[in-house]
Subunit: 351 residues, 2 copies
DNA sequence: CAGCTTTGTGGGAACGTTACCGCAGACACA
DNA sequence: TGTGTCTGCGGTAACGTTCCCACAAAGCTG
């Protein structure tokens, strides 16, 4: 009764109720050594009785570990990043840690501000999709840190987790080839983006392996948006071509835009044009036809990133790049030209 | 140099460098009263020089305010909740607070666990979309708390923020009527859900106002999923009907499923069937045709929730329910039967 | 110039926890 | 029985901050 009703109970309240010192109470609650089983039980009961809950702020102060992790992504509203956040959340929760989530909107200043906030909050480490080009804001972060996403490769000294673009491209191209599309057109992102170069390099490597001449693939650029994909596809459709056109877009939004352009041109997907996307956003499922795409493992990336961050925090300084495998999501946007005669010829297929 | 290189600088380091006591340094940095301008300047410079950053853990301990807020939603991967989270994030950041985000997956036990974690982290308050039916886990939360979403109404003592279902339904029905659909069919959620009753009540009220007999509206139930909507629509299409069918679905996913069922039946939307959704998820934009829907203001709800939570924290005990207005997103899934002859009649419209 | 207020500063306690050290008692062994 | 080790527990310092109080110097009033 000595304790004012509105105060949260502390370990001292527990100790008093159990008739021991606070050191003993702390030891009992920490489950550590040199405690009589009987004493431990008394303390635990007392803790339950007063409704004690350990104050993590105080623990953090004393131990230097706050039990919190930071996550700075471009936009939680973007389904891919939401997926990443979800994976990170779950993995952190399994380890008893909490996640502070921030959206940077691809703005270096916002990013820097969020990192400052994280430092002040004394998070144990941070997972960041770096938007800032300059090393200045980031390398002085001074906290265990792990980068995520393709832009991470600009920073050679910092471990990173990302999707395996090379494997994804191989997966996509193999699928296209299997369906009878030998040399698809490419819709890529802006030339300034690192991801674009990575994607294109992977395509080239794949082509070399399969004796395909990459030079025969038409390429169009655009912003990583629906509108960008739509315009790129329009340009592609303006070019002279023979037979069925297949397109591999570097991004699902662009792929969705491309499908719109196909409809705008009075053509049909997949009858006249096949579209393959890259990302695996849920919207692709509800488009008509459903968008066949190579899905990035957002959730797994988030989980793996937290694991990697824990490694960094425990000062295993072994620097690593981790690439998570993607998988193919087959829906309806790809025509199968392999087992039957092309649809635009008379319908005299093998069956 | 007295300070070991790996330690983060404290206010004592700043004080020593500025040649003042830590009290004075604290006052200077807090920007508060009774400081010579010259002293303040010296302290601020010293702080910059040593790279001082205030330790929020310590501030939280001392002041009882951690500067952190909790957000517990069903799933950050769900676009509506991601939108809410984004609004909350931004609003919290503007007030200098950080957000701890958790996903409960509609699991009461996970929810309870997350709330415990938040309490231990000593957040200043929490925003929760309550999934637990029982008051037990929640009312004993013991922290300033604000509920969000339609399930919040089960808890009469706790302030809440949600979307204005009545206004949304009115908006949707008015739009349907304006387009010439007098008595649309309804696709609703499971009978157990509170949101369903609210939706239906709003429909009835609207009908009374407009002298429409609600009894003539066909109603089908289903889970709040694509599959649920698909099956409900299938049942609707099996019923005998005359002319164009219009459907108001209580959820965008169901609406998308309904559109699939229309296609499955060899019919065309919007020529044969009009579909109106409710939520405003991005996928609706990429469906074909684009889903016309009543959009919930997710982001605004998140922002308003943080504001309301701040009110709760500052012990304004005034209990409130806040309903945020929805808006109509007109895309392509609704036929206009008003200004022209119905499409299924000969194409002899007024124009 | 005595007594008062005002202003700027320093000292110390407190927030809740854990780590370290010391101490008392039990026990083993010569 | 004396010496040494081990076990269980209590006391205290420390983490970094802010708040309260005390104190000195300066300014003001009569």
């Amino acid at each position: 009764m000595g304790q004012s009703r509105n105060r949260r109970p502390t370990i001292i309240d527990v100790a008093e109720r159990a008739g021991v010192s606070k050191s003993t109470a702390a030891r009992a609650l920490a489950g550590s050594s040199n405690i009589t089983e009987e004493t431990r039980e008394r303390v635990v009961k007392a803790a339950e009785a007063v409704g004690y809950e350990r104050n993590h702020l105080a623990v953090g102060m004393r131990s230097g570990r706050s039990g919190m992790l930071g996550l700075v992504i471009p936009d939680i509203t973007n389904p891919f990043w939401a997926d990443v956040a979800r994976g990170a959340q779950d993995r952190a929760a399994r380890a008893g840690a909490s996640l502070l989530v921030f959206s940077s909107d691809w703005d270096p200043e916002a990013e820097a501000a969020h990192l400052r906030t994280l430092r002040r909050a004394r998070v144990d480490g941070a997972i960041v999709n770096p938007v800032s080009d300059s090393f200045d804001d980031l390398d002085r972060f001074g906290l265990p840190c792990l980068f995520i996403g393709s832009s991470a490769e600009r920073f050679p000294d910092i471990s990173s987790v990302g999707s395996d673009i090379a494997q994804a491209v191989r997966l996509g191209l193999d699928h296209l080839v299997a369906k009878g599309h030998r040399a698809p057109a490419l819709i890529l992102g802006p030339k300034s983006r690192l991801a674009r170069a990575r994607f294109l390099r992977a395509v080239h490597e794949h082509c070399v392996e399969r004796d395909i001449d990459p030079a025969i693939m038409p390429i169009e650029d655009g912003e990583y948006t629906v509108e960008g994909g739509r315009e790129a596809m329009k340009r592609l459709l303006d070019q002279p071509r023979v037979g069925h056109l297949a397109v591999f877009a570097a991004n699902d939004m662009m792929a969705l835009g491309a499908m719109m352009a196909v409809r705008d041109a009075g053509l049909d997907c997949p009858r006249d044009v096949s579209v393959l996307g890259f990302d695996g956003i849920p919207s692709g499922e509800f488009a008509w036809p459903g968008l066949t795409t190579v899905a990035k493992p957002g959730r797994a990336i988030g989980e793996r990133a937290v694991e990697g961050l824990f490694d960094e925090i425990e000062h295993k300084p072994e620097h690593r790049r981790i690439y998570m495998p993607c998988r193919l999501l087959e829906r309806g946007s790809l025509a199968d030209l392999s087992s039957m005669a092309p649809k635009r010829a008379a319908g005299a297929g093998r069956n």
